[in-house]
């Protein structure tokens, strides 16, 4: 997860006297499905989730440019992350490398909104809960735009598109799809292969959480259809992996994907 400045500058206290389960060891990987919780603050809200008696801090509200985007009340969230030693934020144990995916089915029990509490303040917010200062919260700095152009591409080029649990193409995909179109032009691609994968997660409780059958095919066909529909005029081979996938609890979010290979 994102910005180190952000971590250091968040001031947070755990309310005295709160009964906590045994804290997890730093460095532990966690993977669980649970309700998200919103905690208001004087500034933007924090997002938390409880698992086995501990409260974890997931992210804060900022804007569309955030690397870790908040989940949704009314739905459970699939959380992956590594327990860090950083000071608690908004009363939650901080997870690093957080990956969140909203579970698609509705769950009315996920409705906890906690009021602002003076114990929890955020003294750095990349984007206040209203208009921005003019740029997106996590825009690349103008300096990075002046970096030297990469060498012209040679040989096959591979792209990974990642998906929310059980979902196909969404608001996450215009940018990577445009990158593929641009590369196809630079490379003078002559064909492409599109492989969709049905993902799976090994949860911390030992259970296997598998996406719905057919989602790999749906993703592959949708991605290929969009690229062709946007004017990419090259033959496409569409395949998918829909078996019982391996999952080891390490970055399992990467299994929910489509791989696009462009061939010169």
């Amino acid at each position: 997860m994102g910005n180190p400045r952000f971590w250091l500058s968040l001031l947070a206290l755990t309310a005295a006297g709160e009964l906590l389960a045994a804290p997890p060891a730093t460095g532990n990987r966690l993977s669980f499905v649970s309700c998200p919780i919103v905690r208001d603050t004087r500034s933007v809200p924090c997002w938390l989730s409880e698992y086995e008696g501990n409260t974890y801090y997931l992210t804060i509200q900022s804007d569309v440019s955030a690397e870790v985007q908040p989940p949704m009340l009314g739905h459970k969230v699939l959380v992956e992350g590594v327990v860090s030693a950083a000071p608690a934020v908004c009363g939650g144990i901080v997870l690093e490398k957080v990956r969140l995916s909203v579970m698609p089915e509705q769950d009315a029990s996920c409705n906890t909104m906690l009021p602002a509490d003076e114990h929890y303040t955020i003294d750095f917010n990349p984007r206040p809960p209203g208009p921005s200062g003019g740029r997106l919260a996590f825009d690349p700095s103008p300096a990075s735009a002046t970096a030297p152009a990469p060498a012209p591409p040679k040989g096959p080029q591979t792209f990974q598109l990642y998906f929310d649990f059980d979902k196909s193409v969404s608001f996450r995909h215009p940018a990577p799809l445009v990158s593929i179109l641009e590369m196809a032009e630079k490379l003078h691609a002559t064909r492409m292969t599109v492989t969709g994968v049905r993902g799976a997660h090994k949860l911390s409780n030992g259970n296997l959480l598998q996406e719905s059958a057919g989602v790999g095919q749906r993703r592959a066909e949708e991605v290929a259809g969009l690229l062709l529909g946007a004017g990419l005029k090259i033959p496409a081979t569409t395949t998918w992996i829909d078996g019982t996938p391996d999952a080891d609890g390490v970055d399992d979010w990467q299994s929910r994907r489509v791989t696009v290979e462009l061939l010169p």
Binding site: Q69, M72, G74, E105, Q106, M113, P131, G134, V178
Partner: protein, 522 residues
């Protein structure tokens, strides 16, 4: 007609008694009083370079940046079809190029319902009802709604029938059209009828600006964006309640077909003239009854038609560098005023400035709104009106502006209570949509959704688009009540009250008054 040509630096003021006294800011007085404000098709008058019309909170101003428009023979103003209507029939200069309910009612009175405005094709609840009876036009006469008939199932851009993600049943058919053997969903024409307000045909340079956030893929969904058939380039998809028209030209062609019943398509020349006219026409409130001139030199740069004509299009304004409606704090710290008139004016301007701040800075929890709570911000988000209404100068969304605010979907859509003692019966159709079980459900409404108008989903066939409506521009609001796609807010106060209920905002009375005053001067 009631307009005369203005000279540079002068503009027309209404001579209606009430307003005449307000036209005291050095501008020309009108030579004669118009009979009414109705612009009839084919009247052949000049549309001046700059002209004002009285409205609910003062005067609306229109500006043609290319100078006075001769409307004789002009395809926007001539009745080109078979039913006597022109574009101007439903896009009236005095109503900010939309059509106010009061105007519709006046036309009914004045013509005993014979005006082409009331043509059966879409000026009635369903075309085959008796034309002379007000009951046949009840949605037009009571809510300002025209029937919009769309093919069902939807067609793709090449005209092929597509397979939507949901099935539709008619749960309620008060207009007796959606179960009709010809016009109904299962009728011979395979159409679905929804009922919608006309949208302003001015400031369209902003509405059609394909800049910020426009790629071959729709920003909110990743699906293919519509393309301009002339250039092949993707467009911003910000026109019509469901973004079904890619460009002003495709829009005009289909409007001529559906509203005007033309016997042959408009020519390339007619389409170009309509487009040119629409791209140079600006509308905004120019005078406020209580707040005075909205376009005076040194005033807020977000108000008045001249600032609309000068403004930058396609710009994101939900930030403190551009602003959505820039006020430059011009009205935030005014002196109390010397005399009663100045006190009243400055007091009102201060209220407008506070209303702006409510719009721009007053946070509340935005929840369960498809295409805003689903685009990476979270559900709920603590934000402001300007989060959804971010386009500089218009308050639209910058691109792909459809969202489900709840104006047409249950549980938020305005519906009279069902009760044995009810005095009012539901007037709009209600559709039951059942989404495919093998796909993820709508994140907030599940797999069975009841709606008065499925909005964007009638075009995309997607469950997640049910009830998603493209945001309209905020300009000339005072000239074109009622509001929202289905006319469910009779006035600006009702619009604000809808938000208060929908998002449990708990505005104070002062905040509501200020917000209404602010919206009324746009």
């Amino acid at each position: 007609m009631r307009v005369n040509i203005s000279n540079k630096g002068k503009y027309w003021c209404s001579s209606l008694l009430l307003l005449a006294s307000l036209c005291s800011d050095g501008h020309a007085q009108p030579a004669s009083a118009p009979a009414d404000l109705w612009w009839a098709p084919g009247s052949g008058q000049m549309l001046p370079a700059s002209v004002d019309y009285p409205d609910e909170s003062g005067r609306l101003g229109l500006i043609n940046t290319s100078g006075a428009i001769g409307t004789s023979g002009h395809p926007f103003f001539e009745a080109l079809g078979t039913n006597g209507r022109a574009c101007v029939t439903c896009h009236q200069p005095a109503n900010a190029m939309s059509l106010a309910l009061t105007t519709i009612q006046q036309r009914w009175q004045a013509t005993a319902g014979s005006d082409p405005l009331f043509a059966p094709i879409d000026g009635q609840n369903c075309p085959d009802q008796p034309r002379a009876e007000a009951a046949s036009h009840s949605l037009l006469l009571q809510r300002g709604l025209f029937r919009v008939a769309l093919p069902w199932p939807p067609r793709d851009s090449k005209g092929n029938v597509t397979t939507p993600e949901f099935t539709i049943e008619v749960a309620r058919d008060p207009t007796r059209c959606n179960r009709h053997p010809v016009y109904g969903i299962d009728g011979t024409r395979h159409e679905i009828s929804v009922y919608r307000r006309p949208r302003p045909a001015a400031n369209l340079r902003y509405v059609s600006a394909s800049k910020f956030g426009v790629t071959p893929f729709i920003g909110k969904t990743g699906m293919l964006a519509a393309v301009d058939p002339e250039t092949g380039k993707p467009v911003n998809m910000n026109m019509m309640a469901d973004a079904r028209e890619a460009t002003l030209k495709t829009q005009a062609q289909s409007a001529a077909h559906s509203h005007m019943e033309v016997s042959k398509p408009l020519t390339a020349d007619q389409l170009s003239r309509i487009q040119q006219f629409e791209l140079q026409l600006y509308a905004a409130q120019r005078w406020s009854t209580l707040g005075g001139a909205l376009d005076e030199a040194g005033g807020p740069s977000g108000l008045g038609p001249q600032n609309m004509a000068n403004g930058r299009d396609g710009v994101l304004g939900n930030n403190t560098s551009n602003y959505v409606f820039p006020m430059e704090d011009k009205w935030s710290q005014l002196p109390a005023g010397n005399d009663a008139k100045e006190k009243e004016r400055n007091g009102f301007r201060a209220s407008v400035a506070r209303g702006h701040d409510v719009f721009f800075y007053r946070t509340f929890w935005i929840s369960d709104a498809m295409h805003i709570n689903t685009v990476g911000l979270g559900n709920p988000i603590k934000r402001t009106c300007a989060t959804c209404h971010g386009m500089h100068m218009t308050g639209m969304d910058t691109a792909n502006g459809w969202m489900d605010l709840g104006t047409t979907n249950r549980p938020w859509a305005l519906e009279p209570p069902e009760s044995p003692w009810a005095k009012e019966l539901p007037s709009l159709p209600l559709f039951k949509l059942t989404c495919r079980a093998d796909l993820p459900p709508h994140p907030f409404l599940g797999r069975v959704i009841y709606t008065q108008d499925p909005g964007r989903a009638l075009i995309s066939g997607k469950c997640e688009d049910v009830g998603a409506i493209v945001i309209q521009q905020f300009r000339g609001l005072a000239a074109r009540a009622p509001y929202f796609v289905n006319g469910s807010a009779a006035n600006l106060r009702e619009l604000v009250d809808f938000y208060d209920r929908r998002f449990n905002i708990r505005f104070t009375e002062q905040e509501k008054v200020d917000l209404v005053n602010f919206l009324g001067v746009l």
